[in-house]
Symmetry: C2
């Protein structure tokens, strides 16, 4: 299966995407990657690949770049030869099974709608991020594709998120929560109340409202919210991860007993801090577009890009897009 990877997307591009492609192709022999970007910027970073891996990495020339500060919709429309747009065109034309980018989130969403296209019947796409809890993972969506939502959007996120979680976990009916400012039925605003009514009548495994504290501990398999709220939560978690890392460093500098403890514990603590960098745990699928579009964190290193490629490949293997389409036809 061939995936188009935006070689110019993210803070560490082109090195991280190129090396990520090499890592992922080394780990999965069924994977082929088209690195989309300027040939000259790519070649140096894939030289060290083994012949078997190199034979599955292709370069697709694209000479423009959509920057992190560019206006999402207008840059996606005007920069027709940008690495992100070309990668998305490959999904539209079915040359590639899916595309992956660590670039401008707004442009990825705009391109998902404008270039790849929405699934018929879906009003707005939702970006989904897995939140690891102790023994399970909660899928949170939307985390930024649709900043403010109508009830219909939340309802459709719930359907799509449930199908996606069912595919990746094998659960028959993943439990579903609607994010609100408290678990009592009277909480929320008009949009949230309306979405709640729709979900109660949906046949989904809907458990009602969940609140902030329920998300990190994994109360339900899927949590639905608008893009503003989801974005606030995952970035807040990222900030806590940063703070925890700083606290560990400070702790190491303090008294001798905790110092010994901290030295012994450092690997475990760092692993813990990394848990809250949700977006770095892999890729976030943009659900609701007619093809596979995976967003990786803007700050992704090669290892994280490889993870996003594996997410894309597994999404394809599970027929994620087709399952969402089939469920809408029921």
């Amino acid at each position: 299966m061939l995936f188009a990877l935006d070689a110019m997307g993210g803070d560490k591009a082109p090195e991280a995407p190129c090396k990520g492609a090499v890592i992922a192709c080394g780990e999965d022999e069924s994977l082929s990657v088209a690195l989309v970007g300027p040939r000259g910027a790519i070649e140096a970073h894939i030289k060290s690949a083994s012949p078997s891996v190199r034979s599955r990495i292709h370069i697709v020339e694209a000479n423009e770049v959509i920057g992190m500060g560019d206006n999402p919709s207008s840059s996606m429309r005007s920069k027709k030869n940008s690495s992100l747009r070309v990668a998305m065109e490959m999904v539209r034309s079915r040359e590639a099974v899916g595309c992956i980018s660590a670039g401008n989130t707004g442009a990825i969403v705009a391109g998902g709608v404008l270039v790849v296209g929405r699934i018929k019947g879906i009003d707005r796409p939702g970006l989904a991020v897995p939140i690891p809890s102790l023994r399970k993972t909660t899928l949170l969506l939307d985390v930024g594709a649709t900043v403010r939502c109508k009830a219909l959007n939340l309802y459709q996120f719930a359907r799509m998120g449930s199908i996606y979680m069912s595919s990746i976990t094998g659960l028959d009916a993943p439990s579903l929560g609607l994010f609100s400012n408290g678990s009592e039925d009277i909480k929320g605003d008009e949009v949230i109340s309306e979405a709640r009514e729709m979900l109660l009548a949906s046949g989904l495994n809907f458990e009602g409202f969940v609140e902030g504290k329920d998300v990190p501990v994994g109360r339900t398999d899927v949590v639905v919210c608008d893009g503003f709220t989801g974005n606030a939560l995952i970035k807040f978690g990222e900030g806590i991860g940063e703070l925890v890392k700083t606290l560990i460093r400070e702790e190491l500098r303090s008294g001798i007993l905790p110092k010994v403890g901290a030295l012994l514990m450092t690997p475990a603590l760092k692993k813990m801090a990394a848990r809250f960098e949700y977006e770095k745990n892999g890729g976030s699928p943009l659900l609701g577009v007619d093809g596979i579009v995976i967003k990786a964190h803007g700050n992704s290193r090669d290892r994280a890009i490889a993870g996003a490629l594996h997410v894309a490949s597994s999404f394809a293997g599970l027929r994620g897009t087709e399952r969402i389409k089939e469920s809408l036809e029921l």
Copy 2:
């Protein structure tokens, strides 16, 4: 200074409020507390107080209770003899300098508006919670008093939050951030954009948009958001704190080397997990009402209630309410 304390508010009432009053009066000789509730439920819990402390603790009879599931406004209107309402009446009549409750948040806000009354010129009150970062504290408001906001509400939260932070930290002009889904100027929705324009023209030390990851690391002294978002963030932090505690327990059960480390580190790690239980760090002032109203976490133990009493006392000593009123007259 006499403060009215709702003896029936919170999961651990009446024991925690009663014992909290005893602790706080023991720590601060200038403090007097009126425990508001049924005399029979209170007396047993204050028996052990020293004569000096006991002489500063009074019982004010009130025989109704507003429960956690009661409708906020209607219970505040109808339960005229509830412990919370009577405590608030004492603030309105100036018998008490302020009131403290760990009860129903919605009822505390409703009572703040209906009984204590808003400060002239303030449209909606805001509940403020201190978020401890590494070396400083960020004041986050609103965390649930005003679920959805107009731009004017966000603007007034910013003014009130800045004055409050200036009082408690001594900072001349606390730095201020407006919460959005990214730091670029184009982020947010219409309400947030309008509030941004008002803040740019306000003369406050406004640093523009802040996003989720900026809050735990303390990028600005004050962060303003609507009550839905603020509530989502503090409860999400609470959930992360719970998860961290569970992870520590799990870590203790695993291999021998981390076990030694974890045992040595346990106090430091528990302290770290507790950092994210923002509301338990003390009391949250309801800013914008014409008197001191402090909300404590519903799950507060006696120590947390004592902390909330100290927050109330310090708020009074700093003339917090008067300062907000004076600034509005400028």
